[in-house]
Amino acid sequence: MAELWSIYLWPGAIIVAKIVAILVPLLLAVAYLTLAERKVIAAMQLRKGPNVVGWFGLLQPVADGLKLFVKETVIPTGANKVVFVLAPMVTFVLALVAWAVIPFDEGMVLADINVGVLYLFAISSMGVYGVIMAGWASNSKYAFLGALRSAAQMVSYEISMGFVIVTVLLCVGSLNLTKVVMAQQNVWFAVPLLPMFVIFFVSTLAETNRSPFDLPEAEAELVSGYNVEYSSMTFALFFLGEYANMILMSALTTILFLGGWLAPFGFAPFTWVPGPIWFAAKISFVLFLFLWVRATFPRYRYDQLMRLGWKVFLPLSLLWVVVTAIALVAFGWVPQ
């Protein structure tokens, strides 16, 4: 009995506690990201944004959540019920499970697996299922068209993202996310791999269906795309999943290019600030870029979106993989 406790139950309890310690701040961050988005865009458009509920509108996310929670869940008659209910769950769960491998500081990670980068890439490539299942199960033209568009878009941009990740991995020599960060102690990869950083950031915009690539939610033509038939908490799960994905992609950008939890300079006073705070600050900066882009650029046309993904980013990132490999070998910088 004591053995059962020491081998299974106690480690299990510790893992559950760690999961809670990751998920609670994450969900809070998701809630306040929605507020931050409205506030930032309002500031850029010389408005005030939400300022009625609570002090400076700080209780607005709570009010929004409550509103969605008490609404009625409507399941269309012609819908495929199981898949219809499954789709938002898939989206939300996939947005959360990816956080298992994100390192917040050296050793501060739930699962320090050897193939962390591949795990994240696999999880993000499965995000398309939530969308495509929702579109098909709704049994509605608009939802279906929106889902098809979205799926094609997400699959296209994954490929250039994959090549960007390969470039970073060439410079690291490992698929472990902690090692990826530790390889950036001298210089962040955003400096030597600046073009890849830009490509990766734009691809994450497309991958998370954010503006200017928010065609799946083109309210002007598809009355909001794949989630048009969803209401109440099923809709809220899509919404939460989308914002959790934004934070996840920002975290991935931070880890791959902006040095993760490392301080920008390796001396005091920068090193006095603990790693997780640097990590959060960098994620917030990338998230601000997401919002800034949304407030600045108009929506892409669909054929231009596909052209950018397949004819510009794909050859460019492929070329850069070769260039990086040649440079690493020629100058003897290949990591051991």
Binding site: A122, M126, Y129, E158, L175
Partner: protein, 204 residues
């Protein structure tokens, strides 16, 4: 470990059940979803064997890309399940033959392990020990040194297949107006705008 045994039986049971559901589900989209579930459990079995690289490549390639395309095609086809069932008996002999051959091959492979246990050791000996290199690194060392020609050959075959598919489906339709972005960017104001001073009541 009890946990890994439990996980093994869980993954394999769900994988087999999902496999059965792939061929027995009435709705083709459900079949694809069950296929994805089967892929997942296969990836779980890979992880249990310590082949985490293969597991995640399986998920990325099959679940993340191939099955998405399956879904695309199946969702857009208007498949009549009743009509498809009618051909069942007609295709049963050849399907049964292929199934029997596969089953026999599987039996031969498994029994050859049992009859000649050293044959499995021959396969395993080529990879560096797990303590020396992770399996990603071990795979890379083998693929890019010993099996480089086979690896490149497989790559060329896939490239050829891709080019072939494009050649077969590409058709140049006349009369399509395409956007030429270089041309648009090169345009100057004088090329497209002309200002005329038109006197009132006369027109151009």
């Amino acid at each position: 470990m009890i946990l890994s045994a439990l996980a093994f039986y869980g993954f394999s049971t769900v994988a087999i059940a999902a496999g059965v559901m792939v061929i027995s589900a009435r709705n083709p989209v459900h079949s694809v979803l069950f296929l994805i579930l089967a892929f997942f459990n296969a990836a779980g079995l890979f992880v249990l064997m310590g082949a985490e690289f293969l597991a995640f490549i399986l998920v990325i390639v099959y679940v993340g890309a191939v099955a998405v395309l399956f879904m695309f095609v199946v969702m857009m086809l208007d498949i009549n399940v009743v009509e498809m069932r009618q051909g069942f008996l007609q295709y049963l002999p050849i399907g049964g033959l292929i199934g029997t051959v596969l089953l026999l091959e599987l039996i031969f492979v498994v029994t050859s392990w049992a009859v000649a246990p050293e044959s499995g050791g021959l396969l395993a000996a080529k990879a560096p020990a797990l303590t020396e290199a992770h399996n990603t690194e071990a795979l890379g060392r083998l693929l890019y040194t010993k099996y480089i020609y086979l690896f490149q050959g497989a790559g060329m075959v896939l490239l050829l297949a891709m080019v072939g598919a494009i050649v077969l489906t590409l058709r140049g339709r006349p009369g399509v107006r395409r956007q030429r972005i270089g041309h648009q960017v090169r345009l100057r104001r004088d090329d497209v705008v002309e200002i005329k001073d038109v006197p009132t009541g006369t027109g151009i």
